[in-house]
């Protein structure tokens, strides 16, 4: 079945419009709803979406940017949205293709329950109204990796509408303070993914892989409530965390499980919204922010130099760092939407409307799904702040770095150290080392247990904090030694022998009579100098506070 599908289509030059870049995963452009339609939608929310310009330009003009996002998330499910084919990333080409996926005539779609549950779950997590009845539509366009010539989507009556997403942004002069903002979610719709086209320019051919064709997608349409690249990036990151917490999508942008298109326009506050462009193929959060900011600046420069903005589709060239028009004929295409006649309306129930005597596996109960919702990132952060007394921004960092929260929690489980100490070591020391070495959390050479052991030693005052840093470095080298082993090998224990320490203090005072005199005359620096000298003599193994006590007692 798979073999005949992998055929060549035609010269690559005609496919330029879908060309991402030669090294990328060759993801195709997924066309979206009509441009003029969404233009009107943007206008209708003009009053609520005025934002200050990123930068005032010459002549005192102030520009406001309006950014809306469309996010496609691949649903984590064993099988595709309407067929029994398995879903798996990086399987051999055309190995996961059912008769339906290849659009053999006479095949019919059968809705995957898991995908519906994922959509309901995501809708609930995003505070959406879940439509008890939603409909499927066909969206038509010819493309080699869309075998049926149409995509089944939910244009008229999607499964979830009118939601919101709260996200945190840094504000203030030093960007040290967190503020919460909200972006409205227009709708969430279930739809099919397309296949992949692989363009071979050398041989003038296109290879088609239908493994992805028919995989379930959640299309989340966000209202144009954003004003810059950073906000958009923050929103997408938050969305990613939510989807991952729910398990409804792996939301890995590099694997194409999360794809973002941005609609961008600029205007003068008080004026109607400007013409928007759509930037597609944003496959990392960093590029998303850069692409949006670049596009905003480009539009402002264009308008200030007397130019006009065209309603067009652009793509972001991450090597050039700018957006370029896509010569996308599909941008102006009429998708000839039509109801999907082979799927009855999708009807959902809540506990109140559940029909009597119906088999539970035949229906989907919204209330039941609501009850099984896991803790969402926002709640996790609030809990971290409440339970551990950490700063909100620390809770953000813990969640934003993949695996860091788990690491933190594992350390917390195994250590007696104070949460603040753990937070500080995880966020400042560990994360710093990871960033410096360009490693992900799960690649850390230091395990949570090792760090917990180290922090226990620190907490019991067995070692000084500077010794702890030394131990950390040893642990990082990863010689499979525990913190305690390193401490004992390197003799980094704090001197617990009070008498010996007193002798050392006595000897130091005797060796530096001038400093002792200075100290006695009230020079505050003098005692610190003595402390330093004593510590040096102990090879940094003594607690400065203890030394200070002894020195003060001896000099009294």
């Amino acid at each position: 079945m798979a073999a005949p599908i992998l055929r060549w289509v035609g010269p690559g030059k005609r496919w330029a419009l879908a060309w991402v870049d030669s090294s990328s995963s060759h993801r195709r452009v997924s066309p979206n709803g009509s441009a003029s339609h969404r233009m009107r939608e943007q206008r209708s929310v003009a009053q609520q979406s005025l934002h200050t310009a990123p930068k005032p330009r010459k002549g005192g003009h102030k520009w406001a940017a309006v950014v809306g996002l469309e996010v496609h998330a691949q649903i984590s499910s064993n099988s595709k949205l309407f067929s029994g084919s398995q879903v798996s990333f990086a399987a051999p080409p055309n190995s996961l293709v059912s008769f339906f996926d290849a659009s053999l005539p006479g095949t019919l779609p059968v809705l995957n329950r898991r995908c519906v549950e994922a959509a309901v779950m995501t809708g609930l997590a995003l505070n959406c109204h879940i439509n008890k009845k939603s409909l499927f539509d066909r969206k038509h366009y010819f493309y080699a990796d869309l075998p049926a010539g149409y995509q089944i989507t939910q244009q008229r009556l999607p499964i979830a509408v009118r939601g919101s997403l709260t996200y945190g942004v840094f504000v203030g002069n030093k960007r040290s303070h967190m503020a919460t903002k909200t972006v409205r979610i227009k709708q969430i719709q279930l739809e099919q993914d397309s296949g992949k086209s692989l363009h071979d320019d050398l041989r003038s051919q296109t290879l088609i892989d239908l493994n992805r064709a028919g995989v379930g997608l959640l299309e989340m349409v966000l209202e144009p409530d954003l004003s810059c690249g950073e906000e958009a990036a923050t929103v997408v990151r938050e969305l990613q965390l939510i989807l991952q917490a729910l398990g409804t999508s792996k939301a890995n942008m590099a694997e194409g499980q999360l794809r973002v298109d941005a609609n961008i326009s600029v205007h003068q506050p008080g004026e109607p919204l400007g013409i928007r462009t759509e930037v597609k193929n944003l496959n990392s959060i960093r590029f998303l922010a850069r692409a949006i900011d670049h596009e905003i600046q480009r539009q402002i420069s264009e308008l200030e130099s007397g130019g006009v903005i065209l309603n067009e589709t652009r793509s972001f060239d991450h090597r050039l760092g700018c957006t370029v028009p896509m010569r996308d004929k599909e941008g102006k295409q009429d998708y000839r939407f039509m109801p999907e006649p082979n799927l009855p309306p999708l009807v959902l129930y809540d506990t109140a409307s559940l029909p009597v005597g119906v088999e539970p596996q035949q229906v989907i109960n919204i209330d039941q799904i609501r009850d099984t919702l896991p803790e969402l990132p926002r709640v996790t952060r609030e809990r971290l702040v409440r339970e551990y007394g950490m700063l909100p921004e620390h809770s953000f960092t813990l969640l934003n770095e993949v695996g860091l929260l788990q690491f933190f929690q594992s350390v917390m489980k195994e250590t007696r150290a104070e949460p603040k100490k753990v937070t500080s070591w995880v966020l400042n020391v560990l994360l710093g080392y990871l960033k410096q070495h360009n490693l992900a959390v799960n690649e850390s050479p230091i395990t949570p247990s090792a760090l917990a052991g180290l922090l226990d030693l620190l907490d019991s005052k067995a070692i000084s904090s500077s010794a702890a840093k030394e131990v950390f470095e040893e642990l990082w080298k990863g010689k499979a030694k525990t913190a305690a082993q390193i401490v004992s090998e390197k003799q980094l224990e704090l001197m617990q022998d009070q008498e010996a320490l007193e002798h050392l203090c006595q000897a130091t005072m005797e060796g530096h009579p001038q400093v002792v005199t200075d100290m006695k005359t009230g020079n505050p620096k003098a005692i610190n100098k003595l402390i330093g000298l004593v510590r040096k003599a102990t090879l940094n193994r003594a607690d400065p506070a203890v030394i200070k006590n002894i020195l003060e007692r001896l000099s009294a």
Partner: protein
């Protein structure tokens, strides 16, 4: 043996009067002899014989699978058949061999039925004559029947026109299936019915043509014309046979989400003796000026038959009937435009030689693969679906469809059990006359009595009601409320019993002229000699 009904031959098989292989060989021989009818696109000789042999083994062991075991059947060539070419009578699918069976085909095979072949149709079932397929038109077996030839001789004694010149159309689009059953090449055939495509050829070929309720029978594997109206249809020699086949086909299919979940009871028809509690509705809108006097008189005779047997026969109104054609045109072409989008030459089917660009390849493939009728409907459909037209055409047509469906609901809610109408305007016309009008005009005229049932999703059956003065069959249609299929067939069976319709006297034709029918050309030579 071949002229018998499915049930009769089933009994003969059970009693050992004939074996499945003997029966299969006889049918294959008739297929060979009647090749000139062009009823089949593909004859599955080897598959059929193999299936017959397996059936025979079962009979010998006394392990027959049931009524259909060993019964030769034919399937319209728009149902997917695993390993057997499925063309939809289109160059687009010439050479396409599906890797799976349509659910209805699988169900027939699971019951031991013997698949004789795939029958001819209008390309992608778009037509009402079975004249517009890539493999040539279907000829109505009645063109060569004793009844028709005698009448023709009587009417124009001096004229010696050959039957090859004024042969009759079989009706359509399931004309191949109808011709296959009427010519005694099999005992039942599957058609598809979107606007009357099973009932129309059944009426023209003197058969029972049954369109079940939408949702009762799975469409999985039926290559769609209009998904929201397509229903697999059944063509048989009598109503009981249709019920027997329906009993096998009906029921929920997890592969077709539009099939009903409710369990289906076996369709055994009681022999109605008392129709006094029956209320038959005669829709006044169906009395159109174009209706031929022959059909009209048989229609009123049938009404009289019910009345004299004690049934209540009343005039009813289906007021939105006249909008049905134009409404159907919009909905049908829109779905056609969508359904045909998959035929792009990439995954299967015809692919042109042009490869300058993908778009050029698409265009040439589709131009070469589809006939004018299909291309015309795709063009209209895409026009209706354009954003600027959608509200004015598609949405309005959907609203009208709802009104048409409500017409039926209202009539049936008023106490009417079945509606009795003509199936076609007249008896089958000669091909040369038929092609004077284009496909669109013909479809619009010929579907007027049948289309509304598809719009409403209600079951309808065409039953032979008698012969016209020309010696040609005329069918009348019964329509019942959705899922009232059993009641519908019960009434149809009563009517059938009163009528005692004659079988086609075609057998002598094939027996008289045993010389070869290797191809269509030789067939016409032969007919001149007849």
């Amino acid at each position: 043996m071949l002229g018998r009904t499915l049930r009769e031959v089933s009994v003969a098989l059970k009693q050992g009067q004939i074996t499945p292989t003997e029966l299969c060989r006889k049918c294959l021989s008739v297929i060979q002899k009647t090749k000139f009818l062009n009823a089949y696109i593909t004859v599955s000789y080897e598959v059929a014989l193999k299936q017959a042999e397996e059936s025979e083994k079962r009979y010998k062991k006394g392990q027959s699978l049931g009524e259909l075991d060993g019964i030769p059947v034919a399937v319209k060539d728009n149902f997917s058949t695993a390993g057997i070419e499925t063309t939809c009578a289109s160059n687009m699918l010439k050479g396409y061999i599906p890797p799976f069976n349509a659910t209805v085909v699988q169900k027939l095979l699971d019951q031991g039925a013997v698949l004789m072949g795939k029958t001819n149709l209008d390309e992608f079932a778009m037509g009402s004559g079975s004249t517009d397929g890539a493999f040539g038109p279907v000829k109505n077996p009645w063109s060569y029947s004793k009844q028709y030839r005698e009448q023709r001789r009587l009417r124009s004694p001096g004229e010696r026109r050959g039957a090859d010149e004024d042969w009759l159309i079989a009706g359509g689009s399931s004309g191949g299936s109808a011709a296959a059953v009427a010519a005694a090449t099999c005992f039942a055939a599957l058609g598809s019915d979107t606007g009357g495509s099973t009932r129309n050829p059944a009426a023209h070929c003197g058969l029972v043509g049954f369109k079940p309720s939408y949702g009762l029978v799975s469409r999985y594997g039926l290559i769609p014309l209009v998904n929201s109206m397509d229903v697999p249809g059944i063509l048989t020699r009598c109503v009981d046979d249709a019920a027997a086949v329906l009993g096998v086909l009906a029921g929920h299919d997890p592969k077709d989400s539009t099939t009903v979940q409710d369990p289906v009871k076996p369709f055994v028809l009681p022999s109605l003796t008392d129709v006094s509690k029956l209320c038959v509705g005669i829709p006044k809108e169906y009395l159109v000026p174009e209706l031929s006097s022959e059909v009209r008189s048989l229609w009123s005779k049938a009404a009289g038959l019910f009345e004299s047997a004690g049934a209540k026969v009343i005039d009813v109104s289906l007021p939105h009937t006249s909008y049905s054609i134009v409404c159907y045109h919009v909905l049908c072409t829109s779905e056609v435009a969508s359904n045909m989008a998959r035929f792009d030459g990439l995954e299967y089917g015809h692919r042109c030689d042009i490869n300058e660009s993908t778009e050029a390849m698409y265009a040439a493939t589709r131009r070469e693969g589809f006939n004018d009728v299909v291309r015309g409907r795709i063009l209209s459909g895409n026009f209706f679906l354009l954003k600027e037209n959608y509200e004015n055409y598609f949405i309005k047509a959907q609203k009208v469809r709802r009104l048409i469906a409500n017409d039926f609901v209202n009539v049936f809610n008023s106490g009417v059990d079945v509606v009795l109408t003509p199936t076609t305007l007249s008896e089958a016309v000669p091909f040369l006359e038929f092609i004077k009008e284009d496909n669109r005009t013909r479809s619009a005229q010929d579907d007027i009595f049948t289309q509304a049932a598809n719009m409403a999703g209600v079951p309808a059956v065409s039953v032979p009601a008698g012969l016209s003065p020309q010696g040609l069959p005329i069918g009348l249609q019964f329509i019942a409320p959705a899922f009232g299929d059993q009641k519908l067939l019960t009434v149809a069976k009563w009517f059938e019993k009163q009528i005692q319709f004659p079988v086609t006297q075609l057998q002598e034709l094939t027996e008289d002229c045993p010389s070869g029918f290797e191809n269509d050309n030789s067939a016409s030579v032969f007919l001149k000699q007849c």
